[in-house]
Structures are given as structure tokens and as C-alpha cells.
Amino acid sequence: MSVETVEAGGRANGPANAGSGDGATVLRVSDLSVRFAGQPVDTIDGVSFTLSAGRTLCLVGESGCGKSVTSLATMRLLPEKAARITSGEARFEDRDMLRLSRREIERVRGDRMAMIFQEPMTSLNPVFKVGDQVAEAVARHRKVGRREARERALEMFRRVQIPAPERRLDDYPHQLSGGMRQRVMIAMALANDPKLLIADEPTTALDVTIQAQILRLMRTLQDESGAAMLLITHDLGVVADIADEVAVMYAGRIVESGPVETIFNDPQHPYTIGLMSSMPTLGAPKGRLATIPGSVPSPFEFPPGCRFATRCPFAQTRCFSEVPPFERNDDGHGWACWRTPIETIAEAGGHA
């Protein structure tokens, strides 16, 4: 397999955009690094990806790999003292979100860029009516009166298919089920027709049946609005369902990215391969990894080279000392590994 080096040298992680989106670029994150207070290295290290209008990019990885931190950094919702953005850019509508003033960022948040969180049970304020909480988001960004804001909230409740929406407006969060609360969160996020929707594990806390409903709803609403969606998940089933493109994250770096079919059918990075074969529905291709031994190292234990090297069955000396470059081919499929293609090694009899 021939690999064309798109970004030779530079940082480890190249853009994750598959380049297949017909829509205009909505968000371009490049070289984003975040360091937590008291940690020796950037936990998020050189993350780059691009999102186009109407497309869905799934950010995939184990818990603690930095998916949420990446999205929160883009929204500038990280606590500034505890988590410092050390480098990078997040271009959204021709402005770098990472360099906007607090006032400017507040104008973008909840308007053109909105977010849905993992925990519908705790993400709504328990002492305010849900209708008011949605209306508040409308009133914040549009010059409308209370009535119009409430009208808009009602309209959104209908769009997210909340039954008896007029009555639900005056409910408090505790009176709603988890699925309903997540619908309220979606209504709130989409109330101002954002160009970009970030969804951080929006279905993880829900029952399986409700998960499918919510995903379908998000998909429909996205089709209607043409918004770009950044979906963070560790659930490969969700990815297969909803993604156009996939970026696989491991220990704060993007290790592989590309169109969803390519990632599922032809994964290149040993971590992605491991991830795919640990997914029971797809089944592990014979002769490959069934599980990934060990767990994600702490930032104190990151090797100077590839961060997956400590768990990688194919790792060589070089993997531990040198960061593999992120290379991308013409199909928009890219990865960062010294050892690919793995097949040849496996066929040649394991570790070379």
C-alpha cells in the first residue's frame, strides 16, 4: 500500500478530514495541545481535524484518551487555571476560538456552536423549568421577548419529538426521564440553529433502546439543518451508525483517521485494529488482536515516542523514542505508525 506523506515532519497528528465532505469547512482544529496543571507533558498533543457542513466526525477512543478535553477546549469550556491550551488553533467561521476574548466566545457559544453533554441527568439545572432553560438560550442570542423565546422553545420541543410539549415546558428536570432530558438538551443546543454541534457521548448514559432513538433524532435534525457534528463516543456501534468520518484518539493524540468505511474495513494503526477486534458484533479477524492488553498509561508514563508503544504488540525500539508522523493517502485515510502495514509483519512471523 502506498502512502503519500501529506504532512511530512511537523506534528504527529495531521488533519483528520477525509477530504470527502462536499460542504464548506466549518471547524478546523490544528495542532491543539492542552496541558493540565502539574503534568509533565501536554496531555492533548497536537490534535488536528476538520469538520465540514452536514458531515459527522466521530472522535473515538477509550475513556481518558482526551476526547472530551478536545471538545471542551474547542468550546473553551475547560477550567482555565487547571487546563492550559499550550498550542494550536480552532478556526470556526474564520476566527480562532482559542484566541477570542471571553465576551466574544460567549457570543459564539450556544449560538453558532452548541454542545450536548453525556449526563442528561445532571446537565439541566434542577431548580428551573426545562422550557425556561431552553428559552434562556434563545433569549441570550436573539433579540426576542420572553414570549417569542418560549414559542421557540415549544417549537424546539416539537422538533425533538417531546410528547405533549406544551405541558413539558413547565416541567422541572427531575420530572423527566433521562431520554426526555437529553431531548431537552438537544432542543437547547439546536435552538439557535448552530453551524456546529458538539455531542459528548450523548447516548452513553441512556438505555439501549433510547440510545437508538436519540441517535436517529440527532441524525434527522442534522440532515434538516446541515450543521456539522462532532460526536464523541467510545461506542463503535454508534460510530458505524452515524459517522461520515472517524478520528481515533489514543492518549491525547489522533492515531488514525479517515472515512468511516475505511476505518472499519481497513484499519492500519495497531490501536485501531485492536479497537475494531474488541468490538464483538464485527468479530475479530483471525490472527489479529482480540483485546488490547494493559491500560492507557498516565501522562507521567508516556514514552517519548508513540504513546501506544507500551501496549503495542508490534512495537520496536524506534516506536518508544520517536514520534511517528501522521501520514495520509489520497483517500483521506491517515495514521501515525512506524510499523504499518501490519499485515506484512504478521505474515512474516510477528515481531521483526
Binding site: 469550556l77 487555571k81 460567549e106 457559544r109 450556544g110 439545572n125 428551573f128
Partner: protein, 315 residues
């Protein structure tokens, strides 16, 4: 809601009965025979016997309690042994003074403690936070009587801004009344402000971590709205309960502060009564304070439900 109020009220009644038993037994626990005290200097055995009869002191204790409680329910708390004035009249005289002092002290405590708590939570770990905490700790550590004396020295003696003592009823000259109460209310209020500040701070710190605060920020709301609306509105719940307790304590009278500023409130009344073994007055004041406490808790319970929609479900 009405059912809830009725329920809270029903719960208050046994508490009141227990308190009344305790108050009644004060008389039994206090050293000395009440009849002997009432008989005065001569201690005429006949007079003592007569008094024992009159006040049912020879009856079994439960009967004595029933007699006392029966009268108390009808608003008859007996006569002061010293002045022969009905206890209820004495309380009626002093209670408005104490309430005025308590309300003014609470206003000062809220005005200082809550903003300080919010600011130090939001600015946690900064110099502002440390200064606020230092001041609060000082407020808790400085004895009221010392602060009172220093204030009199500074504000009254030195600057001559406020009267050092004296009391004018609110109904007579409202402005002047507030003026005379300002310093004692400040002394009491600052001590409570420190407590309120510490509790507000920790409640705010807890709520600031909540997911819904992040949601509020994600909506694009400004920090002011995020803090004062979305965070404080949740952090206020434990503060309501605390405030009721603090106010109840104020109703019990602030003995030292009242002494220093010569304010004729509950504190002074009960101290005088204790020294004079004037136990009908002691009983009356303690009972009244206890009722005040129970009422404050009752109101706090109701306010808590009003402020917390999650509680309304269970009504």
C-alpha cells in the same frame, strides 16, 4: 403544599410539648423552694404554706405540669416574682426590641456574608479569597463584647457619629431607633456574616462543579448570570436552613451585646430573671425563644420547598 404545611405544623407540636416539659422542669431543677423565695424576707411558715397551696406546689409533679401548661396555653405565664407584672407583659415589652435587633443583625449578616462567600468561591485560591477568609476567621474569633466596646470607643466616643447606648422604640422614632440599634446589630451581624460567608463559599464551590453550570456556560451565558442565577440559586438551599438557625439564636437574645449597649431585650430580661431566681420569667422567656426557634425552622422548611422543585414532588 397546604398538606405539607399542615404536616410540618403537626410535627412541630410534639417538639413544643417536649420543650414545655423541659421548661417546666427548670423550676424543679433550680435550687431553692419557689414558695420560700416568694414569701420574701420574713419567711413566715404560714405564708409559705399558703403560697404552696396557691401554686399547687404540693401536688404531684405531673399535675403541676398540667396546671402550668394549661395556663400557658391560655397565655397566662404567671407573674414575675420580683415585680408582680405578668410574664407575658414583660415578654411583650422586650420581644419587639429583640426582634428588631435580630432582623437588623440578619440584614447586615446577609449583606456582608453572602456576597463575600460568592466572591471568595468564584475567586478561589486568589488573594481575594484569602483576604475574605482571613476577615471571616477574624469575625468568628473576635468576641462580640470586645468588638462592641471598640466600636463604642471609635464611633461614639471618638467620632461621635452614633449614640453609645440607649434605646428608642421603633414606633416612637423609627430613624432614631434604627440609629441606636445600628452598632449592636453590626456587632451581632458581622459574627453571623462570617458563618454565612463560610457556608456560602463551600456551597458555591460545590455547585460550581455541577454539570448544569457547564451547560449554562455552553449556552453562552455571561459569568454574572452563570454565577448569580444558575449557581447561587442552587447554593442558597443549605443557606436557608442555616439562616433560620442563626435567626433563632438571635431571638434567644444576645446577652453580652445587649448589656454593652444597654438594650432592654430578651438577653437582659433572662439574665436578670436568672439572677433573681424569678423562674416564671425564665420559663416564659425560654418557652418564647423555643417557640421562636420552632417557628423559624417551620418557615425554613416551607421556604426550602418553595426554592427546591425536587422537594415539591413528595408533597
Amino acid at each position: 403544599m397546604l398538606r405539607y404545611i399542615a404536616k410540618r405544623f403537626a410535627v412541630a407540636i410534639p417538639t413544643l410539648v417536649i420543650v414545655s416539659i423541659f421548661v417546666f422542669s427548670l423550676q424543679k431543677m433550680m435550687p431553692g423552694d419557689p414558695a420560700v423565695i416568694m414569701a420574701g424576707e420574713q419567711r413566715d411558715p404560714q405564708v409559705i404554706a399558703y403560697l404552696r397551696e396557691k401554686y399547687h406546689l404540693n401536688d404531684p409533679v405531673p399535675e403541676q405540669y398540667a396546671f402550668w401548661a394549661g395556663r400557658a396555653v391560655r397565655g397566662d405565664l404567671g407573674q414575675s416574682l420580683r415585680s408582680d407584672v405578668p410574664v407575658l407583659d414583660l415578654i411583650g415589652d422586650k420581644l419587639p426590641v429583640t426582634i428588631q435587633l435580630a432582623v437588623m443583625a440578619m440584614i447586615i449578616a446577609f449583606a456582608i456574608g453572602i456576597p463575600a462567600g460568592i466572591v471568595s468561591a468564584v475567586k478561589k485560591g486568589t488573594i481575594t479569597d484569602y483576604v475574605a477568609n482571613f476577615v471571616a476567621l477574624s469575625g468568628l474569633s473576635i468576641p462580640n463584647f470586645w468588638l462592641g466596646i471598640m466600636l463604642i470607643l471609635l464611633v461614639s466616643v471618638h467620632l461621635g457619629w452614633l449614640p453609645a447606648s440607649g434605646y428608642v422604640p421603633l414606633t416612637e422614632a423609627p430613624l432614631r431607633s434604627i440609629e441606636t440599634m445600628l452598632m449592636p446589630a453590626f456587632v451581632l451581624g458581622t459574627a453571623l456574616a462570617a458563618t454565612l460567608m463560610r457556608h456560602t463559599r463551600s456551597a458555591m464551590l460545590g455547585v460550581l462543579q455541577a454539570d448544569y453550570v457547564r451547560t449554562a456556560r455552553a449556552k453562552g451565558l455571561g459569568e454574572r448570570v452563570v454565577i448569580l442565577k444558575h449557581t447561587f440559586r442552587n447554593a442558597v438551599l443549605p443557606i436557608v436552613t442555616l439562616s433560620a438557625l442563626l435567626f433563632g439564636e438571635l431571638l434567644a437574645g444576645a446577652v453580652l451585646t445587649e448589656q454593652i449597649f444597654t438594650i432592654p431585650g430578651f438577653g437582659k430580661l433572662i439574665v436578670d430573671a436568672v439572677f433573681n431566681r424569678d423562674y416564671p420569667v425564665v420559663q416564659g422567656v425560654v418557652l418564647c425563644t423555643a417557640i421562636g426557634f420552632i417557628l423559624m425552622n417551620f418557615f425554613a422548611d416551607i421556604l426550602y420547598v418553595v426554592l427546591n422543585p425536587r422537594m415539591r414532588e413528595s408533597l
